[in-house]
Amino acid sequence: MDDELYRENLMDHYRHPRNHGTLEHPDCEAEGKNPLCGDEVEIDVAVADGRISEIRFSGNGCAVSQAATSMLTELVAGLPVGEAAALPSQAIIDELGIPLSAMRVKCAVLGLGTLKVALHRGAGTPLPAEWGADEDELVWG
C-alpha cells in the first residue's frame, strides 16, 4: 500500500522518540493537550546564554503528535529562545514532510504550541493570540 503518511521517518520518531523524558530543573515547562482526540505532550526546557540548551518531552497520543514533537525537539535544540518562540507552524509541518488533513494539522503542531507556551511563560511574555492559550495552558479544540 502507498504508505505516504506513515513514512519511515515519522514512524522512527514515534517508536524511538528523541529527547524523551523530563528535566530535573527546567527553566520553563508547559503541558498541551487536544481533548478532542486525547493527544497530550509535556515539554521541559533548559536555557543557557539565551539558547535552548536542553529540551525533553513526554506524552501520549497519535503517531503524528508524538513524532512531530520528537522532531521539534531536534529542530530547536541550541536555537536562540526568541527564534524558537517565533517558529512558524509550517516549519514542523515541513519537517514531517507528509500530507496532513486539516484535522491532523492540530496533532502536528501540538508540540510546537506547547513549546511556545513554555518559552513565553519563561520569558514572561504573552503567547501570540493565534495560539489560543487558555489559562496559561495550551488546549486545542
Binding site: Y6, M11, P35, C37, M103
Partner: protein
C-alpha cells in the same frame, strides 16, 4: 472467518447497494467500504431523484402560494409529514414537527417544555450513554432553571444501571427523563421500557433520542409510550437539514413556541401575536420542504426493503463483525461483546495504537470508520478511553466490507509495529 452471517436469502444486499450511486466511486483506487452509517447514511438514487424532480417540477414556497406550484409544494411537504407519522405510528400528524436534525429537536424540547416545567426542587434524569445532543441541552436547562440533573451510570460494558432510580426519586420531583434508544458509540440498547414504567410512576415526561434506531428498525411511539421522540433525516437515507420531533399532542398544545416568525403564526398585531395550530406552531420560517420530500422518498425506500428485514440484516452483520474482530490480535471491543442486546455499531481499540492513526491507515484501504469520542465524552471518560474506533453498519453493509476492515486492521498492526 468462523461466523456465517444469518442473513435471509430474500435480502439481496448486492441489489440494495446498486441503488446507492456513491458505491460506484473509488477511494485510493479501491471500492468504498463505508462503515460510518451511525454518523450519516449514504443516499439511494430514488431519494436523490425525488429531490431533483421536486426542484425541477414543483418548487415554490409552502403554505403561501395559491398558484399550482405552491399547492403542489405544500401537498408534497405535508405528505412527507403523513409518511413520518405512519413510519413511527404517531396517533396524529399534528404531533410531527419538522426540525433541522435530532439535536435541534432535543433542544426544542429542553428550551420550551423544559423551561416551562422545571425549577428548583425538580429533577431531570439522563444517562452517561447520551450523545452530547441529549446531554448538553439538559445541562443548560438545569443551570438556567435551578433543577437538579442526575445521570444513570453504566457498567463497564455500557449496560445502563437502574439501581439509582429510587435514590434519584427521593431528591425531588422528577420532571423529565431523557434517554437514548441506542448508544451511537457502543450500539448498546438501554432498557427503555423499564425506564418509561418508572417515569410514569414519577409523573415525568420521557424524551427518547431515536437517531440511531428509526433508520434501521420498526419504531412505534405508541408501543414505546414515550412523550417525545427525535430523529434525523440524514441518518435515514434522507438529505441533511431535516429532522423530526414527535411529541404528545396535549403536551405540545400546552407549550409556548420555540422560534417565532413565519408559518408558526396565525395573526400579528404590533403589540401581540397569536400562534398557529399544531404542528406548524413549532415550525418557524421557511421549512426544509424539499428535504422533507427527500425524507418521504427515503421512508418509502426503507419500507420497500422492510425495516424488520433491515434490522435482521444489521444484526447478522454485527454478529459477523464481532466474530471477525475477535480474531484480530490486540483488539478489544468497547461495549457488549455479543450481538444480542445491541444495534449495528461496534466500538473498539487496538493495543495502544491511537484511533486516529487506525482510521487514517484504514482510509488507505478505502475503509471509512469514525475515530474519536463520537460526541460522547462523558461515556468515554466513564469507560476509561479518550477515543475509540467505531464501525457502524446499515442496510447496504456487506460481509466483504467487514473482511476488508479486518485486512486493514492487520495492516495497521504491521505499519504501527504492534
Amino acid at each position: 472467518m468462523t461466523v456465517t452471517p444469518n442473513t435471509s436469502v430474500d435480502y439481496d444486499v448486492t441489489r440494495i447497494r446498486a441503488d446507492f450511486p456513491i458505491f460506484g466511486r473509488q477511494v485510493h483506487g479501491r471500492d468504498l467500504a463505508y462503515l460510518d452509517s451511525a454518523s450519516t447514511s449514504q443516499k439511494p438514487r430514488a431519494m436523490l431523484d425525488a429531490v431533483t424532480d421536486f426542484y425541477s417540477t414543483s418548487n415554490a414556497n409552502v403554505h403561501r402560494g395559491v398558484y399550482t406550484l405552491g399547492i403542489e409544494s405544500t401537498d408534497a411537504f405535508e405528505a412527507a409529514r403523513d409518511a413520518v407519522a405512519q413510519l413511527i405510528n404517531a396517533p396524529s400528524r399534528r404531533e410531527v414537527i419538522f426540525t433541522r436534525n435530532t439535536t435541534e429537536a432535543l433542544n426544542l424540547v429542553a428550551k420550551t417544555v423544559g423551561t416551562e416545567r422545571c425549577g428548583p426542587g425538580d429533577v431531570i434524569v439522563s444517562t452517561v450513554l447520551e450523545h452530547h445532543a441529549n446531554l448538553v441541552p439538559w445541562q443548560v436547562l438545569a443551570q438556567q432553571t435551578g433543577a437538579t440533573l442526575r445521570f444513570l451510570d453504566v457498567d463497564d460494558q455500557g449496560n445502563l444501571q437502574l439501581d439509582q432510580l429510587d435514590a434519584i426519586a427521593r431528591e425531588g420531583n422528577v420532571r423529565i427523563v431523557a434517554v437514548t434508544h441506542q448508544s451511537n458509540t457502543l450500539g448498546v440498547r438501554p432498557p427503555v421500557e423499564a425506564l418509561v414504567r418508572w417515569a410514569r410512576t414519577q409523573g415525568a415526561l420521557v424524551v427518547l433520542d431515536a437517531a440511531q434506531t428509526v433508520p434501521n428498525r420498526p419504531v412505534d411511539v405508541q408501543a414505546l409510550d414515550v412523550d417525545f421522540l427525535a430523529f434525523s433525516g440524514h441518518k435515514t437515507l434522507a438529505p441533511t437539514g431535516i429532522g423530526v420531533l414527535w411529541g404528545r399532542e396535549e403536551v405540545l398544545a400546552a407549550t409556548q413556541p420555540f422560534l417565532t416568525g413565519g408559518e408558526m403564526i396565525r395573526s400579528v398585531a404590533l403589540d401581540r401575536t397569536s400562534w398557529n395550530t399544531l404542528p406548524w406552531k413549532f415550525e418557524a420560517g421557511t421549512p426544509a420542504y424539499a428535504e422533507a420530500v427527500g425524507l418521504h422518498a427515503a421512508i418509502d425506500y426503507l419500507q420497500g426493503v422492510g425495516l424488520q428485514a433491515i434490522d435482521a440484516h444489521e444484526h447478522a452483520i454485527t454478529e459477523y463483525a464481532l466474530g471477525c474482530l475477535s480474531e484480530v490480535p490486540g483488539l478489544r471491543v468497547v461495549g457488549p461483546p455479543d450481538a444480542a442486546s445491541r444495534g449495528g455499531v461496534v466500538s473498539f481499540v487496538l493495543d495502544d495504537v491511537h484511533p486516529h492513526d487506525i482510521a487514517e491507515i484504514l482510509d488507505r484501504h478505502a475503509v471509512c470508520v469514525r475515530a474519536g469520542h463520537h460526541c460522547t465524552q462523558p461515556l468515554m471518560q466513564r469507560l476509561g478511553h479518550t477515543a475509540t474506533v467505531r464501525a457502524s453498519f446499515y442496510l447496504y453493509t456487506t460481509t466483504d466490507e467487514i473482511d476488508r476492515l479486518v485486512v486493514g486492521l492487520h495492516d495497521v498492526r504491521t505499519v504501527m509495529g504492534v
